[in-house]
Amino acid sequence: MRIFLIISLLILVSCKSQKEEQFAAQIKNNLIELFLPAIELEVLEQGRFNTGESLESFPSLNFPMVRAKILNENFDHFSGFCLFYLMPNNKKKKPGVISFVENYPGEDCFESQREREPFWEISKVEKFEVSFARDKQLRIKNSGSLGPYEIFLKIDFQGRGSRKEFIAERFSLQNLKRKRSRSILTFPHKTFDLKAFPYTLVGDYGDKYENKSQQFCYQVDKNCQVIKEFDCDSCRYGWTYVPGGECGEDFNAVCGVDRCGERGEFACPRGQAYLRGFVRDIEPCSQDSPLGYCQEGLVPICDENKNLVCL
C-alpha cells in the first residue's frame, strides 16, 4: 500500500515539475517573441549592465533597464517596449519584478511608465542579469572575425511553491551593430527611419507672419527657457530661423516657405558675427540691426517679442 502512496506522490510531484517547466517555457517564449524582432536595443543602465553581473544593489527601485524598438510580424509597423526591474528587497523579503511597458517613439521610459500599465510581468524575481556581448559561437568562418552581437538575459525567480528556477536566454542579433555610444545596438542602415513617429504636418503654403498664420517650431521665452521643443522636421513647407530674440544665438524658428526679407515678414538671419564680437557697439533692435537683413528699401525692426521683422 505504501508503494501505491509513494507512486502517487511521485506522479503528483512530476506533474508539478511539468507545470514549473511549462511556466519557464512560457516565459522563454514570451522573451523570444519580444526580443527577436528588435530592430534597436538600448541598455539604459549601462554601468551596471554590461558587466554581466547580477543586479542586486539598490533594492526597491523600479529602473528602466532596456528599451527596444521592434518591427511587427508583417514588418510594416514599429512599436517598442521598456523593460523595468523592481529590484528585490531582501530585508523586507520582497522579491523583484520584471515588467514590460509599451513605449511610444519619442517617449522616454519613465513617461511610458506614467502613461500605461505593464503588459507583462515576471514576478518573484531573485536575480536579473542582462548584457550585450559578441556571439563567440557564431564566429564568422574563414575571416576569423568576431561573430555578431547577442543579448544575454538571465532571470532567477521563485517558481511555484518557492522552488528556485532560472531562465538563461541568448538572442543572436545578426543585423544589429553597436553605436558609438556603446549602449545602443541598432540596424545601422537607412532602411528604417527609427526616429519616425506618427506626426502631424504643420503649416500651409500661404502662411505668413503678416497674417499671423505662421507657427513657431522652436521657441524660447524672455528668460531663454525653451517653451517649444525643436520640431521643425514636421513643417510641411520647410522652416527658417528668426533673427532677434533676447537669447543670443538661440533663435526661434518658424514653419513655412522661406519669405525672409519681404515686407511684413521676418528678417533673414545675417549671422552671428555680431554675437561673437566681430561687430561691436550696435543694438540688436536698432534700425541697422546686425542680426538680420531685408529687401532693398526695408529695414529690420523688432516686434513685441524682439523678433526682427522687415518694414
Partner: protein
C-alpha cells in the same frame, strides 16, 4: 474487533487503490494536456524562429540594396538591367556617380530584373521587389503624411521573401540625402567685391547653422515624379517640366527643402581668398569661380582675343552659346563646379533663385543663351524673371549690365528655367 480491523484494512486498501488510480488518471490527463501544450509551445518557438530568419534575410537584402542605391556597390543580378538602362540614360555613362540615389535609373533597372540573391550564413535566398502604385521605387513626399509616419522625401521599395506558400515582406525606405554639399561655417558676401573700398559690402555668415545645398539642378524626371503628388500646380509652359516660380517653391517643399537663395548661391560660387580662414577681415569676391586671377580664366582671355577659339574643355567648364555643335551639353560636367563642388556656376541653362535682398533679380544670366563675349558670364550678374512666363519678354536685366545680346531664337521658343533647392538642419 479483528473483523473490524479487517474491514478497516480493506477499506484503507480500497481508498489507497482508489487514490492511486485517481492520481494516475489525473496525471495521464495532465500529461496529455501538457504534451499538447508543449507541442504548441515548440511550434510557437519554431514559428518565431522562422519569422526571425526571414527577418534577418530581408534585413540583409535591405542592407545590400541600400549599399547599391546609396554607394553604387555592384549587384551582379542587376548588371544586365543596368546595361540596358544606360542606353536610355546615356548621360550617366560618363558620370557613374550620378546613378547613386537616382530613383528613375534604379526603377528602370528593377523593371529589367526585379530579383536578386542574398547570401546569409552560407545560404542563398532570392528576394523580389514588389510594385506599389505601379512603381518599384514608390516616391514619398515630405509634404504628405504616410501611414508609416515617416518623415521626409525619399523612395520606398517593398522586398519579398517566399518560403513555400508563405511570404515575408519588408518595406525599405530610401531617404534621399545624396548629392548635397554642406556649406562650411564662415563669412560670405553677395556680389563682386574686388576693391578694398567697395560700395558693395553686404556680408553675412552661417556660423552655427547647418545648411546643405543641392549639388545639381532639379531634373525633368524629378519634376514629372513630383506632379503625381502636387495636383495644385499652375502650368503655363508647353513642356510638362516648365515650372512657375511658385511651383519651384512647392517642388522644393515636396523634398522638405527651400528654393535656393542668392546669398547661398553666391556663397557657394565665389572662390574664398583663404580657405583656412573662415572669418577674414576683408572678404574679396572675384568674378570667376575657378581662380582669383582673371588672366587665368579662359572666358576673360577669350574676351580679350578676337575670333572663335573656344575648346571642348572650355565648354565643359562653362557651356556657353558658342559650345553648341562642339559638344552636347551635360549638367554634370565636373569642370564647371565651384570650390564647394556645385555647378554649373557659369553657362548651362538660366537658373532661378529667391533673392531676399533684391527680389526682382532672381535669375542667373550666365547661360548657353549668350556667347562667350557677353558680360553675363561672371558671378553675380543677374536678371529678373517674371516667375510666370517662359518667353524672352519675361526676362529683364539690371541696367548696369547694359543691353544684352539676347539671341533672336529665344523670342521664337520657350525658355527652360532651371532651379535647385537647399535645406537647413537643426544647429
Amino acid at each position: 474487533m479483528s473483523s473490524l480491523l479487517k474491514t478497516d484494512l480493506k477499506g484503507r486498501k480500497t481508498i489507497a487503490l482508489f487514490a492511486t488510480v485517481f492520481s494516475l488518471l489525473v496525471s495521464l490527463i495532465y500529461l496529455g494536456y501538457s504534451n499538447n501544450s508543449e507541442t504548441e509551445q515548440r511550434d510557437l518557438v519554431k514559428q518565431s524562429e522562422s519569422q526571425y530568419l526571414a527577418r534577418e534575410i530581408l534585413l540583409e537584402g535591405a542592407r545590400v540594396f541600400e549599399d547599391y542605391y546609396f554607394k553604387g556597390t555592384h549587384i551582379e543580378d542587376f548588371s544586365k538591367g543596368e546595361l540596358q538602362c544606360l542606353e536610355k540614360f546615356d548621360q550617366l555613362k560618363a558620370f557613374p556617380d550620378r546613378k547613386r540615389c537616382y530613383a528613375p535609373f534604379v526603377e528602370c533597372v528593377l523593371k529589367q530584373s526585379p530579383v536578386f540573391q542574398v547570401n546569409l550564413g552560407g545560404g542563398k535566398y532570392p528576394l523580389s521587389f514588389i510594385k506599389q502604385n505601379q512603381h518599384f521605387l514608390s516616391p514619398q513626399s515630405h509634404t504628405m503624411k504616410d501611414k508609416w509616419g515617416q518623415l521626409g522625401y525619399g523612395h520606398q521599395a517593398l522586398l519579398e521573401l517566399r518560403d513555400g506558400d508563405k511570404q515575408f515582406r519588408l518595406k525599405v525606405f530610401l531617404k534621399n540625402n545624396c548629392h548635397q554639399k554642406f556649406l562650411p561655417h564662415r563669412f560670405y558676401g553677395v556680389k563682386e567685391r574686388v576693391k578694398l573700398k567697395s560700395d558693395n559690402m553686404f556680408e553675412w555668415d552661417n556660423l552655427g547653422r547647418n545648411i546643405y545645398l543641392d549639388q545639381f539642378q532639379v531634373t525633368e524626371e524629378e519634376i514629372l515624379e513630383w506632379r503625381e503628388f502636387d495636383t495644385d500646380w499652375n502650368h503655363s509652359g508647353k513642356r510638362a517640366y516648365q515650372l512657375t516660380l511658385r511651383d519651384m517653391h512647392r517642388f522644393c517643399s515636396y523634398k522638405g527643402k527651400q528654393l535656393m537663395t542668392v546669398p547661398l548661391w553666391d556663397a557657394a560660387s565665389f572662390l574664398p581668398l583663404v580657405l583656412d580662414d573662415p572669418t577674414p577681415l576683408n572678404l574679396f569676391r572675384y568674378p570667376y569661380p575657378w581662380s582669383i586671377r582673371k588672366s587665368k580664366v579662359f572666358l576673360h582671355k577669350l574676351k580679350a582675343d578676337e575670333g572663335d577659339k573656344i575648346s571642348k574643355d572650355n565648354c565643359k567648364q562653362a557651356y556657353v552659346k558658342d559650345c553648341k555643335g562642339k559638344l552636347p551639353y551635360s549638367p554634370y560636367f565636373d569642370q564647371s563646379k565651384s570650390w564647394l563642388g556645385i555647378g554649373p556656376i557659369l553657362g548651362g541653362p538660366l537658373e532661378v533663385f529667391r533673392n531676399p535682398l533684391r527680389d526682382k533679380f532672381n535669375l542667373k544670366l550666365s547661360s548657353f543663351h549668350f556667347g562667350f563675349k557677353s558680360k553675363v558670364h561672371a558671378i553675380g550678374r543677374r536678371g529678373a524673371w517674371s516667375g510666370v512666363g517662359f518667353a524672352a519678354s519675361d526676362i529683364s536685366v539690371d541696367t548696369n549690365l547694359g543691353p544684352l545680346d539676347f539671341p533672336s531664337s529665344l523670342s521664337q521658343e520657350e525658355i527652360n528655367f532651371a532651379f535647385r533647392c537647399y535645406k537647413e538642419e537643426k544647429k
